[in-house]
């Protein structure tokens, strides 16, 4: 009898504990999303896809990585638009940046793929090895740098002018800082952003610099600290980096590394977060502000169209806001400052008509000096790491113009790299 009573009591306690935890969940912040601030570009099927057409997609990781998920979502979108079957789209996930990439590409060719696409920077030389073996198949590589100098006719690079998206996301961050200053939560001098980056190289540097310049365009007193993880996907390191930055009095965090590490820490600590590669609103409803990302669907549509109609694919393709490649997610009104949506639209219009340039040389200095008009960057990748191309035109550093992948790698004033060697 006693046991029965005891078990009954225990059961009651557990049920009520559950109920309490559910109600506390109920009190949790709910994301309140706006629509996307940039006008969507409609993707249309205006050509015929032969029944035997196949495309192979090589991914470094799988859906658990925000980076790879973004590519996979793009593929799925195009699959729907073009009505491709499961047999026509073949994925190879978790392919490391080694001979395994060449093998995966060769296998995709054997399976009858007309296009082989790989998504990671380190895949490039291994994909190239496969491209040289199979001249009849088109090989497309995202984020790579070698296509415009290698002269392999069936090998192509692609990227997008994502620095524009980063700049706009930076505006959202700057407005949030302004709101914190206006509310008296921080002083203007305390407006410090923390940034978790993967490696100290152009793709990351260009990303955080354009983000910072966007924030600075609305919040002039902003500074930034960057902590590198030395890995593209390391959830623990990314969490540690975000935690260290928050402890270092960074009041807003953004990141360019591929796990959910940094956004998760932000949600736990209630620190606003500007994301990359896609929305984190579900996991971080209270702190997610906005995310910029590259939508790869327009590129997939483009390459499939070219191949199906027997046309050439650009050696080096740069997606833009106009092609629908550079996009922003909706803005989370729960976390963002008021008026963010309107302000982003206003700045986006100015970027479009050229009134604002992201890397306007008047807006940043390096070592206290404005950069020279004949500044050179390493655009042609011969493995020599020599700056070879004039990149400043009309008073702005022209990113993604001379090749699609980023080459802006200046360490500008106002951004402190906490661990340069990564």
């Amino acid at each position: 009898m006693f046991k029965k009573v005891l078990s009954l009591v225990l059961a009651l306690v557990m049920v009520s504990a559950l109920a309490v935890s559910f109600t506390s969940c109920g009190k949790k912040a709910v994301a309140d999303m706006t629509g996307a601030p940039l006008a969507a570009v409609e993707l249309k099927k205006d050509f015929d896809v032969p029944a035997d057409f196949k495309i192979g997609i090589i991914c470094l990781h799988d859906e658990a990585s925000t980076y790879d998920l973004n590519f996979i979502n793009g593929v799925e979108k195009i699959k729907t638009v073009l009505g491709l079957t499961n047999d026509q789209v073949i994925y190879k996930k978790n392919i490391p940046e080694s001979a395994a990439c060449t093998e995966a590409a060769d296998d995709l060719v054997d399976l009858g793929c007309k296009i082989v696409f790989a998504n990671s920077f380190g895949h490039e030389s291994f994909l190239l090895a496969s491209a040289k073996k199979h001249p009849e198949v088109q090989f497309c590589h995202a984020t790579g740098t070698k296509a415009h100098t290698e002269n392999v006719a069936n090998f192509h690079n692609a990227f997008a002018s994502i620095y524009e998206g980063r700049f706009l996301a930076g505006v959202a961050a700057g407005l949030k800082l302004n709101e914190m200053i206006a509310d008296g939560k921080i002083t203007a001098e305390e407006a410090k952003i923390g940034y978790v980056g993967a490696f100290t190289y152009a793709e990351v540097i260009s990303g955080y610099t354009s983000f910072f310049l966007g924030a600075k365009s609305v919040c002039p007193s902003v500074t930034m600290e960057v902590q590198f993880t030395g890995s593209w996907y390391d959830e623990i390191k990314e969490k540690e980096a975000a935690t260290a930055l928050i402890n270092n009095k960074c009041v807003l965090i953004s990141q360019h590394a591929d796990s959910m590490g940094a956004p998760t820490v932000c949600e736990e600590k209630g620190v606003p977060n500007v994301s990359y590669n896609g929305s984190t609103e579900e996991a971080c409803p209270a702190t997610f502000i906005v995310s910029s990302r590259i939508d790869w669907a327009p590129y997939y549509l483009y390459i499939i169209k070219q191949v199906c109609s027997g046309a050439e694919i650009d050696t080096d393709w740069t997606g833009t806001v106009a092609t629908g490649s550079v996009v922003l997610t909706g803005i989370n009104k729960t976390a963002a400052a008021e008026g963010t949506f309107e302000k982003i639209q206003e700045i986006a219009a100015k970027l479009k008509n050229g009134e604002i340039e992201v890397f306007d040389t008047d807006t940043f200095t390096v070592g206290g000096n404005k950069i020279a008009d004949d500044h050179k960057a390493d655009v042609d990748d011969f493995g020599d790491y020599v700056a070879d191309t004039d990149v400043v035109e009309n008073g702005a550093f022209e990113e993604s113009k001379f090749r699609s992948a980023p080459y802006f790698d200046l360490r500008i004033d106002g951004i402190k790299l906490l661990n340069e060697k990564f």
Partner: protein, 377 residues
Amino acid sequence: MKENAKKFELPFHVVKRSTIPVWKSMLFRVIAVVAALLLCSILSLLMIDANPFKFIVTMFDGAFGSSRRIWKFAKDACVLLCIALAITPAFKMRFWNIGAEGQTLIGALAAVAVVIHGKGLPNWLLLVLMFLAAILVGAVWGGIPAVFKAIWGTNETLFTLMMNYVATGLVSYYLLLWTPSGSSVLGRLDQGHLPILGHEYLLLILLVLLLTAAVYVYQKYTKQGYEISVVGESENTANYIGINVKKVIIRTMLISGAICGFAGFLIVGALDHSVAVTSVGGMGFTAIMVSWLAKFNPLIMIGTSAFITFLDQGAAQVTSTFNVDSAFPDMVVGIVLFFIIGCEFFIHYQLKFKTREEAAIPAPIKSEKSESEGGNA
């Protein structure tokens, strides 16, 4: 049911088998694999809505579906076999070398360093230098924990494990040094490629098979091989019959590390022509499984490494064909390995079921005894 549970008693005894014919033990293993695949098929039906038959076919398709896949399968199995050969003498000596990952990686790093600093040298010379550098550095990486173990009795498991992290750290460091752009992506190097013998992978496969024979002979027919097994059985016996245990430990680990370094050399010279922190990709740990399942017999290891490679490639194909999360194939591999290890229990022990009369007698003392026997087993 409740009443039964109170007087719960195992309906069988666990008894150690004295001997078991080889055919019987092999039959047990085959049954285990079939049972595991059956369970996996059912799971595939429930979880990813895939026809079990198609699931099994896909597994085979992944490893043997085209001539290219067969070559890749043979090559991957051989690389894994090479690392397993490296750790086998150490394991036979009961030196738990779980540092093969790092020893291989550091060998690969050394080979790449030779290519990078040896620009302009003729290819054959480059290859000789890469080979020497890789096995030397691999041997050092294996030798350090062995010296500490032999002289100061440090724990080799932790030591070799930690050396893996040091190796990974060094690779990260050198990648940063070698890529001034900061990308840490070295890419494929143009020099230091092993010559192609008929097929891209043929030379590698032949080299590893030769090495397999060499390790087999070394373990079975040489004095050093005998010393290793004596030290493994009992250090006291080894001391008593005049074997210098310290020397054997250090020598064996130098060999173990050198073979790992050789595997690193093969990865650089014949496959990746590059190095990254993921170059070995966990094979240093999988190799332990290969070696252990084969009871440290190099010839049987050809089979076990082929089997594990088959599981890996079959599982990867399942992800691709059914477009499912890669966690699913990982689970499949886990289930199969679990069954195989589990069947070892039935090879070494036997379940003797009680007769009806025995089971009917409620004897609490007896039941305790039988349970404790089960626990010991």
